[in-house]
């Protein structure tokens, strides 16, 4: 555990991980835009079919195409906003407040130390005012990143343990997990919002009711059913993407923390403290739960190994870290 070792402590291949994350982010955004466009087309077609025009063709609905184009335009603008301010959106969703060096000198120092060790610019620093123990990093590039920790974490971790946790977050920055995670969080939010809106329209609006008894009636019912099914499935699919975020990432970030600090024992004791804390952080938005170092909602000791969990069980992570030492 000397300061200057020559070989890496463990193999932590960030460049391969970063390439995967760049590619996955592009695929993710394309798929999310496509889902949004399909939803918008179905909505437009349903509305048009309600007009009862006998020449209506569900495969080439003018209103549907118009809606789809508008949705694509909105998604593209949304993508640009995400590129520019994804980290700030996520900080707001998490209820984290940015702090300057005078307000949290030690946290700023530790973040700067880990940035130096990783060879990246110093991220911005934010604090979540809660007794829960948690932390996350967010941002669309290595140069524009924010790291957020909870007040409880600052109060109950030693300097070395804090350093290990920040090292873990710096691992996500190096691997560009932050980019993919931020994009997932921001787009899952958009799809959920859109589907919610459609379902609400269907419940309260006139969309679901047939006007008159035209020939288009049967077709219209089919379209409404399609739309509702799509509006239910789309957010589920988006959630699945969020859950499928490989748990491998957490192991890799843990290993990177050990490589940066040369001190896996500090991370082990930090994770043990995180695991022993029973305070949940329910102010966090569910769209970004995958970004946290430990899941802010779920009880992470018991069922976290299950298929749907966004995080591996802490016991597994600690066991792997012990293998490094």
């Amino acid at each position: 555990m000397t300061g200057e070792g020559r070989g890496g402590l463990v193999s932590t291949d960030f460049e391969a991980a970063a390439r995967r994350n760049r590619r996955n982010t592009v695929i993710l955004i394309a798929v999310m835009i496509a889902i949004g466009a399909v939803l918008a087309y179905l909505l437009g077609a349903t509305v048009e079919s309600a007009e009862g025009d006998p020449r209506f063709n569900p495969a080439a609905s003018g209103l549907g195409l118009a809606f789809a184009l508008i949705m694509i335009a909105i998604s593209l603008i949304w993508t640009l906003i995400t590129m520019k301010a994804g980290d700030r959106i996520v900080l707001a969703l998490a209820g984290a407040r940015e702090v300057d060096a005078a307000a949290a000198p030690q946290l700023h120092n530790v973040v700067e130390e880990m940035a130096i060790a990783a060879g990246v610019p110093k991220p911005r620093v934010a604090i979540m005012e809660t007794e829960a123990l948690n932390a996350f990093a967010t941002g669309m590039s290595r140069d524009h990143v924010a790291v957020a920790v909870t007040r409880g974490l600052l109060n109950s971790l030693s300097r070395e343990e804090l350093q290990a946790v920040i090292g873990h977050e710096m691992g996500h920055v190096l691997n560009l997990d932050v980019r993919y995670g931020t994009a997932v969080g921001v787009f899952v939010g958009l799809i959920v919002l859109l589907s919610d809106g459609i379902l609400r329209l269907g419940r309260f609006g006139r969309m679901g009711r047939a006007r008159g008894n035209d020939k288009g009636n049967g077709l219209q019912i089919v379209l409404v059913i399609l739309l509702i099914v799509a509006a239910i499935i789309a957010p589920l699919a988006a959630k699945l993407v969020q859950m499928a975020i490989s748990r491998q990432r957490e192991y890799l970030a843990d290993a990177t923390s050990a490589r940066l600090t040369r001190n896996p024992l500090a991370l082990i004791s930090a994770l043990e403290k995180l695991g022993n804390s029973t305070v949940p952080y329910d102010r966090a938005n569910r769209a970004i739960q995958h970004l946290f170092i430990v899941n802010p909602f779920r009880d992470f000791s018991a069922t976290a190994g299950a298929l749907m969990a966004t995080h591996p069980a802490l016991a597994d992570r600690i066991a792997r870290l012990r293998d490094l030492g």
Binding site: G3, E4, A117, A118, Q163
Partner: protein
């Protein structure tokens, strides 16, 4: 047909050579920048030490000798301009600071002083930053040297005049255990 294949190969080779050359240049700049980062942190350490000693003086009346050693080591290190001279001087300063930190443990009033606490935190952090900057420098050197020595990038490296970089070696005095006198 044959001509096209040859042309394709030449183009592929040229693309590879350009990409590798640019990668080597980026790596060399990263190594240079890593070295500068170490200097930035060393400078910060020189600036912090007199402040800390000034405040600590009032509390550590019996330890004037240690404080003098810290200041003397700091001045020597600051005035060492060649790498050969700065290695041992830095090591001596690190040793003197280590003794100072160890002694400070036995002065509760000193550690309770808000001013001292924040100076100690700054100095601890600066010591860490120096260590991490060196660690990152060595990591960059290893990555760059691998590229310069491994085939086939070593061909481009040879032609482009890229030489291997030197690792930062830990001075012997820094690896030696600190002697603690109990009297």
């Amino acid at each position: 047909m044959f001509g096209w294949i040859v042309l394709g190969l030449v183009v592929a080779l040229a693309v590879y050579a350009v990409a590798t050359y640019n990668g080597l240049v980026a790596g060399r700049n990263q190594v240079g920048n890593g070295w500068k980062q170490i200097d930035v942190q060393l400078k910060r350490r020189y600036d912090l030490i007199p402040n800390l000693v000034e405040v600590a003086k009032d509390y550590m009346g019996y330890e004037q000798e240690t404080l003098k050693q810290v200041i003397a080591a700091r001045n020597t290190a600051m005035n060492a301009h060649t790498p050969a001279a700065s290695g041992p001087a830095e090591a001596q300063l690190a040793g003197a600071l280590g003794r100072f930190f160890a002694l400070a443990e036995s002065y509760p009033e000193l550690k309770a002083n808000e001013n001292v606490r924040s100076l100690m935190e700054e100095l601890t952090s600066t010591e860490n930053k120096i260590a991490f900057a060196r660690q990152h420098y060595n990591d960059s050197v290893m990555a760059q040297n691998n590229r310069i020595e491994q085939f086939p990038s070593n061909v481009v490296g040879r032609l482009g005049g890229f030489g291997p970089h030197e690792y930062f070696e830990v001075p012997a005095a820094e690896t030696a255990p600190i002697k603690v006198s109990l009297r």
